[in-house]
């Protein structure tokens, strides 16, 4: 990123400098804390569980937006989030809703719950601060701040756990490039144009796409609960896009 963003960012330093603390907080939340929690969780839970807990972010975002931004949730957002969540629970349980209770909770699941809260907070803060810096420069500054935190942590990691070889380099490239640079940039643009609550509804697609990737990469068969659960999750996303009337206005009309 430095090749094509550092120079414009330096020219724009007068606008960036006053918000350095906010960039540091955003970078820490999205690129350090969320990623670290996710990778720690990956050691003790499944990919699908990780995706499902991440998909709780829209619900947390709606709640945080109401508290921090005074934003009125729409009927579609609340109903769509609940519908998607029901689909996700059905998907994860494999069509047997008691399976979640029977299989217990892994430490990774708890870590992912914290991670979901962290990312919801990131989205809401992004909207609340509305920093006057262009998308790539914003991502770049967040990445620099995250680098300042993560690089010492990398050096402190025992050597056997930070080997650079043919197996680890592609994963590092994905995490460092697509997941840490392109993904936040796309997310920031989405949040800027759609708002955190509406944007976060898309998170409900994550378990469906992750399950699909697991099916392809791990050879998992497509079962009815994949179709039913995934279909409900998609229906929730569509619902959120169609029904945009704020709940508060509906309540006001009802009281008249």
């Amino acid at each position: 990123m430095s090749l094509f963003v550092a120079r414009p960012a330096w020219r724009n330093r007068a606008a960036i400098w006053p918000h350095l603390g906010q960039f540091a907080i955003l970078g820490f939340l999205a690129m350090c804390l969320f990623q670290s929690l996710s990778y720690l969780a990956a050691e003790t839970t499944t990919a699908t569980n990780m995706a499902v807990f991440t998909a709780l972010t829209p619900l947390l975002t709606v709640g945080l937006s109401a508290v921090m931004l005074g934003e009125d949730p729409t009927a579609g957002m609340v109903g769509g989030a609940l519908l998607s969540l029901a689909g996700l629970i059905y998907l994860v349980s494999g069509g047997d809703l008691t399976a979640l209770l029977r299989d217990g909770v892994h430490p990774g699941d708890a870590l992912m719950l914290v991670a979901a809260f962290v990312y919801a907070l990131y989205g809401v803060l992004l909207k609340r601060w509305s920093l006057p810096v262009a998308g790539w420069q914003s991502t770049y500054m967040q990445a620099l701040c995250a680098l300042a935190v993560m690089f010492p942590a990398f050096l402190a990691t025992p050597a056997p756990l930070r080997q650079l070889n043919a197996e680890t380099l592609p994963l590092i490239a994905y995490a460092g490039g697509l997941a840490s640079v392109v993904l936040p940039f796309l997310w920031i643009r989405g949040v800027q144009q759609l708002g955190p609550s509406r944007c976060a509804i898309f998170m409900n697609l994550l378990p469906v796409l992750t399950a699909a990737a697991a099916i392809v990469m791990l050879g998992e068969p497509v079962r009815p609960f994949h179709v039913i659960g995934g279909g409900l999750a998609l229906a929730g996303v569509i619902c959120a896009q169609i029904f945009r009337r704020p709940l508060a206005r509906r309540r006001a009309l009802a009281s008249e």
Binding site: A42, A47, T48, G108, L183, W187, G190, L194, L205
Partner: protein, 47 residues
Amino acid sequence: MIKQKAAFLYPFAAIVLWAGNVIASRLSAHTIGRRPSPSIGCCWRSR
């Protein structure tokens, strides 16, 4: 209207990358040497 619809592509593309990140994190858990506990694998298979 077209611009509004195009705006939805940003979070959608981000989610696609995010799904890849989840898979990558699971792969890294194996690659780096800290394999998940056997019980996790049993749960995954049972589902």
